[in-house]
Amino acid sequence: MAEYEFDTEGVKKTFTFMNRKAPYGTVYALEVLETVLISAAFEQHANIVFVDDGVYQLKAGHDTADIGMKNFSPTFGIIEMEKEDADEDEDIDMVWRILVEKESMEARGLSEDDFKVDIEVVTAAELADIVDASDCVIGG
């Protein structure tokens, strides 16, 4: 196998994680969540975005006991914790934003109070600028 050398010292990019699928019906939501958690190790900037049915991932009160699947809702607390750590610790150069698109939220009759983590609500137009300014977009 070829050997690769990566010089990542000082590299800082902005990643956007685009969550568009409802939880549990498909594996997309969990896969994106795991990718976000892994990426935290690299201390990069991240926008964790929820649009379309993806907004249901954040709804408070998931109870999966009767469908025989693991409830990964508590795991979103890690994203919130990482974000707070990065915001408080001056030694960590990492800006994380947890963003919900207003249009998707309202189309589903939801409001900010329905979510289990603190989020920023942004309009489609604002989100378009944020997504366009990122170096890498990971969809799911």
Binding site: E34, L37, I38, A40, A41, K70, N71, F72, P74, T75, G77, I78, D85
Partner: protein, 111 residues
């Protein structure tokens, strides 16, 4: 299915020694798993194991090693907040060995 035997009670585990039901865990079982791993549980080992259990209870997932290091540092002081310290306690890796003793599922990937 193989099982740990703790004072006559059986605790099923997978082929690598991770118990199947995280809710069955107790401290006596942890000691038995530790013996299997060739470890003598000290207060320092328990600090890490208990932290892992608390973290898992809250977030339903084992922490990434760097999160573990950071959290241990915050909680127990700078001299304990290093990879080296954790590997001294758990020579085969904190993620694998400490999680197994804490009764957590095998960590997937690098988290």
């Amino acid at each position: 299915m193989a099982a740990y035997n703790v004072n006559g009670t059986e605790f099923e585990h997978d082929e690598e020694g991770y118990i199947l039901d995280v809710n069955q865990w107790n401290e006596d079982l942890a000691k038995v798993i530790a013996v299997d791993e060739g470890l003598d549980m000290t207060d320092e080992h328990w600090e890490v194991v208990n932290f892992l259990r608390e973290y898992y209870n809250e977030y339903q997932i084992a922490p990434a090693v760097r999160v573990l290091v950071k959290a241990i540092k915050k909680k127990f002081g700078a001299d304990k907040g290093s990879n080296k310290y954790l590997y001294e306690l758990f020579p085969y890796g904190p993620a694998k060995q400490a999680c197994k003793i804490a009764g957590l599922p095998k960590p997937t990937g690098c988290v």
